[in-house]
Symmetry: C2
Subunit: 177 residues, 2 copies
DNA sequence: CCCGAGCTATATCAGACCAATATAGCGGAG
DNA sequence: CTCCGCTATATTGGTCTGATATAGCTCGGG
């Protein structure tokens, strides 16, 4: 999903600075499927402002740099909704971990075990983030998104823990000797 | 995973043209977690050649453009393996579908149902691709990767089919009247 | 025979995005 | 005082994408 659309979507929830926009979609429940850098958020907001989809007001409060608060316009909102009703881009999943596992014949068991352990830990952290945030009241949309993330990560964790047993570390080999 | 590494990895499996490299990682068992465009493959191969990690020979067989077959060098191979033993970049998952579901309050039930149906169909296609390719003999690496993909997509499908029941289409509503 | 579609194969380009960095503060801890 | 973490804006060189261009070859249909 292009960064302009992401910004519009966040702004339908309320006014925000560029920094806050990034913080909002980095909220744990959403961060597993949305990402954008400041390097693309600010140019996107500028462009949206030029195009009349967003308006901006500056708040000078003795802070340098000044705080720029963005609001979505009616034009912006209808453009956003039209996009939701248009062609849906495909999901994208890239995994250096799986790519590395594809060539694990080049690695020793300790390295493989360490990679899997690290990936399990990362996955558990992601899962915990989704789950604990969901202790707050969830609307239907959030419940769907959390449910999807929990389902996927839980399944992957189960798979990894099962397969992890096949890989011994040097420490485990030494202990068996 | 950067495109240079992807090309090196594929070339450890055997010599290939730029076009073949793309075809090889578009093989259904791997395509769910690796992707790169010609726009980045050719510059990457050029750079790898300059850097001595890859060598290239041209086959002129009356074909225009000529066929350029790339081979990995010993330097390339050791660089690739060193990379596998180095810091592992994070996975990336981007989902316009989930982003749209996050704002499904702007959509009517028919649109939501259609989106879910489309996503289910896509997911089933991906799952079928992994599964049927795996009818061929799998080495341990391929078995791991296929197992991961099957586990994740199957879990997601189960979740979606369950939740799909909550959304009625106009046709289903009309049939009930 | 001709045409079109699909495939193999190389290459490029404008636009989108990233990671890192710079700048400018403020507040808190050592 | 210094350093770290945070809020906040902005930029830049490098990487990648999707689309496109070019150059064939093969096969099937008219």
């Amino acid at each position: 999903m292009d960064v302009r659309t992401i910004c519009l979507g966040i702004l339908t929830r309320g006014d925000a600075t560029g920094y806050e926009i990034k913080k909002l979609f980095e909220d744990g429940r959403f961060s597993y499927f949305v990402e954008a850098s400041f390097g693309s958020i600010y140019p996107a907001l500028s462009r949206l402002t030029e195009d009349g989809l967003v308006s901006v007001r500056e708040e000078a409060g003795g802070r340098r740099p000044d705080r720029k608060v963005y609001s979505i316009t009616e034009k912006g909102k209808s453009t956003f909704v039209a996009g939701l009703n248009g062609p849906m881009p495909d999901d994208r999943f890239r995994s250096p971990f799986l790519f590395a596992m594809m060539f694990s014949n080049f690695l020793d068991q300790t390295r493989i075990a360490a990679m899997i352990d690290g990936y399990i830990a990362d996955t558990e952290a992601k899962l915990a983030q989704i789950t604990c945030e969901c202790g707050r009241p969830c609307n239907a949309q959030e419940a769907f998104i959390c449910g999807y993330g929990r389902t996927a990560y839980s399944a992957v964790l189960g798979f990894l823990k099962e397969r992890r047993k096949e890989f011994k570390t040097d420490a485990a080999i030494a202990a068996a000797e």
